[in-house]
């Protein structure tokens, strides 16, 4: 099984879907001739040409709205946002139009659009370029929100997103683009293709003492923290990767809570009205009796993203903050 980067995995997924369905088209700023601002679309324009890979002007409301219109007619556009922070420029199209057209037409119209790109802090680019808006979009019925944590998940979830008949917003992570994971080639797979259904969480690490529930890069930080906790403190930590925020794998959440009876939510969203607030509510409503103690959280510190390279890493969930929080919880084995 080859080791490939998160970036390469996404690139493979896009290429395979372009090959599979002639209605799939990639549109976005710098996706074609420039080969992608983060090189996710590298080589695709050269291989598939102007019709399938299209450079858009810097006008998010215009081109995302255009993608929504084209998707209503049966085209399957995959739109790249250079940063998810720029989604706010296209919010009317992404929420008022993409999320609601199916509902307001009484089910007559589908909108099979994918919007993708990096959504995260940690690259020292200041408050306007560091948003993690999965809570914002996941709060809107009609939308699906996917947050892959590994190259394997990135490939499988992206392919599922493109095949989906509803709008799917895929939030990648800049800090993971260069990281490598094992991803099987199609020849190595029985099914022939890696497609991961949306709404299935993945137990990335089994454990008995505590459940960490996370998504995106926080899964990676949590796995590292779990190693430290095992090695230094003898704690056996389970790490559940949500993979998609909507649909949400509630069964997997409740199962891990019932197994370990202790929960830490790790989420790069801020704590106020974030994804972790939602997960905590679900656990409180449906598995309260299974808890040995309060549900705790590690989130991005509740301020706009600070620029300072010396400080920003501490604003985000990281191994140290996760380990410290777990030790605070004083879990009895």
């Amino acid at each position: 099984m080859p080791l490939i980067t998160y970036r390469q995995a996404l690139n493979e997924a896009l290429a395979e879907e372009i090959e599979r369905d002639e209605n799939v088209v990639l549109i976005g700023e710098e996706v074609a001739e420039y080969n992608g601002a983060y090189k996710v679309t590298e080589g695709l324009w050269a291989k598939y040409g102007d019709k399938r890979v299209v450079d858009a002007p810097i006008s998010e409301a215009g081109f995302i709205g255009m993608g929504v219109g084209a998707s209503m007619l049966g085209v399957r556009p995959v739109m790249e946002l250079m940063f998810w922070s720029f989604a706010y420029v296209a919010m009317d199209q992404m929420i008022n139009n993409a999320a609601t057209v199916r509902y307001m037409s009484g089910g007559l119209i589908n909108c099979p659009i994918v919007v993708r790109g990096p959504a995260n802090g940690g690259t020292n680019v200041g408050a306007t370029h560091s948003h993690t808006p999965e809570n914002l979009f996941a709060s809107m019925p009609g939308l699906k929100v996917v947050v892959p944590a590994t190259a394997y998940d990135a490939k499988g979830l992206m392919k599922a997103a493109i095949r989906d008949d509803d709008p799917v917003y895929v939030m990648e992570n800049t800090l993971l683009y260069g990281e490598k994971w094992e991803v099987p080639t199609n020849d190595e797979l029985e099914e022939g293709e890696l497609v991961i259904p949306l709404g299935v969480a993945d137990l990335k690490r089994e454990g008995t003492d505590l459940s960490i529930i996370a998504h995106g890069r926080c899964v990676i930080e949590s796995l590292k923290a779990a190693e430290v906790l095992k090695h230094d403190h003898g704690l056996d930590v389970e790490v559940l990767d949500l993979r998609s925020i909507r649909p949400l794998d509630e069964d997997a959440i409740l199962a891990t809570v019932r197994k370990t009876n202790n929960v830490l939510l790790v989420d790069e969203n801020r704590p106020f009205c974030g994804v972790s607030s939602m997960i905590a509510t679900i656990i409180q409503e449906k598995a309260f009796d299974d808890l040995d103690g309060p549900i705790m959280r590690v989130n991005t510190i509740d301020a706009p993203a600070i620029y300072s390279p010396g400080v920003e890493p501490h604003q985000l969930p990281n191994v140290d903050r996760i380990v410290a929080k777990v030790l605070d919880m004083q879990i009895s084995k």
Partner: protein
């Protein structure tokens, strides 16, 4: 207050009065029956609107009601040109286009009443009519928000290799929205077969064009020049002119895949919505009455048909009567139809949830479902 459309009439189409658009090729193809049918469609829209206003005032409908009365020649003229691959999308003032494209009054009126038999099952309301089987893509509530969608429908037409177009309507207020300019840039840049139609009734809600749009003298469509897009101004009270000039734009879309911006000057007799039903706070009674007296598209078309010998006054009265009966019957249908069930709130949100597929079993979509 000076009449906005008087200045509009001095714009690019000033010479239009001298041109006999009845002799345009697309209009010469009309049979007498076709011409009477155009009249019937205009009358149907007006009666539908009048009856809906009556019921709205009785409090049986929710939300807003943006009436199209006074603008009928625009929808009927442009929609009468539809081919298999021509698509239509508009703003919240969407009843006229819906009827002109063949939606039936029952499903439209029932939607206003919020009934399960409505075209959007009571989920969209007045501003959100849709009929994709008739190439009608709504019905959109945010001013200017539909303009990138219109460009996208045109992109779809082109991508799928069809010889077609998208007619994307908006009011004059929409041209000041950023989304409109982005859509125009994309249309000009990517040769999209889209026709942006500004139904210029002189007022963005309660604010006159002069108080809302910079440099209105030359015409609102003239901004298209900045994007290298052809534009024209049309007298929206004459259906011959509407059809002839819109067809020119559609041919440009069909044959050259190039966009056009058309400004169709028209007038609404009622307010922006029933919230300002009289609309007399921002325009004079005299102005409204003058338009009704001198510029009414129904009367103008009726007179042309009578002059051409295709219609008698008695026949016109009969058409009027039938349309009113049809509209009243649709109100009865709507009244007698059931509301959606409370459980129906949860339908039509996700494709596979509605179909109960295996995929939908993978994760929870809804809180507390």
């Amino acid at each position: 207050m000076p009449a906005q459309n008087k200045t509009n009439a001095d714009k690019k189409s000033a010479c239009s009065k001298a041109v006999d658009y009845s002799q345009a090729e697309i209009n010469k193809q009309l049979t007498p029956e076709d011409k009477v049918e155009l009249y019937r469609q205009m009358v149907r829209i007006r009666k539908f609107e009048q009856i809906s206003l009556k019921y709205y005032n009785q409090g049986v409908m929710g939300g807003f009601l943006h009436l199209y009365i006074g603008q009928e020649a625009v929808a009927v003229g442009t929609c009468s040109l539809k081919g298999d691959h021509d698509h239509y999308i508009t703003t919240y003032r969407d009843h006229g286009h819906a009827l002109a494209l063949g939606m039936n009054m029952n499903e439209c009126m029932a939607e206003l009443f919020g009934k399960a038999t409505g075209c959007s099952k009571g989920k969209g309301g007045s501003m959100h009519f849709f009929a994709p089987d008739k190439n009608y893509w709504g019905g959109h509530g945010i001013v200017g928000g539909q303009t990138p969608l219109g460009a996208g429908l045109a992109y779809g037409v082109k991508y799928l290799g069809h010889k077609g177009s998208c007619l994307c309507y908006m009011g004059d207020g929409a041209i000041n929205q950023g989304a409109y300019h982005e859509a125009l840039n994309l249309a000009g840049l990517w040769d999209l077969p889209v026709i942006f139609i500004i139904e210029n009734n002189g007022y963005s809600m309660g604010t006159s064009q002069k108080r809302s749009s910079a440099h209105p003298e030359e015409g609102l469509a003239a901004r298209a020049e900045g994007y290298g897009i052809e534009w024209d101004v049309i007298n929206g009270e004459n259906i011959y002119e509407v059809r002839a000039k819109t067809w020119e734009a559609m041919e440009r879309a069909h044959n050259e895949s190039r966009p056009t911006v058309l400004e169709i000057d028209t007038y609404r007799y009622y307010g922006h919505s029933v919230a300002d039903a009289n609309a007399k706070k921002y325009r004079s009674k005299e102005e409204i009455e003058r338009y009704q007296r001198e510029h009414d598209p129904l009367k103008i078309w009726q007179n042309i048909l009578i002059e051409e010998g295709h219609l008698t006054e008695d026949e016109a009265k009969q058409i009027d009567k039938e349309a009113k009966e049809e509209a009243l019957a649709s109100a009865k249908f709507a009244e007698e139809s059931p509301y959606p069930e409370v459980a129906d709130i949860m339908d039509d949100i996700y494709y596979e949830v509605d179909r109960g597929t295996d995929k939908a079993k993978h994760g929870k979509y809804f809180f507390n479902d």
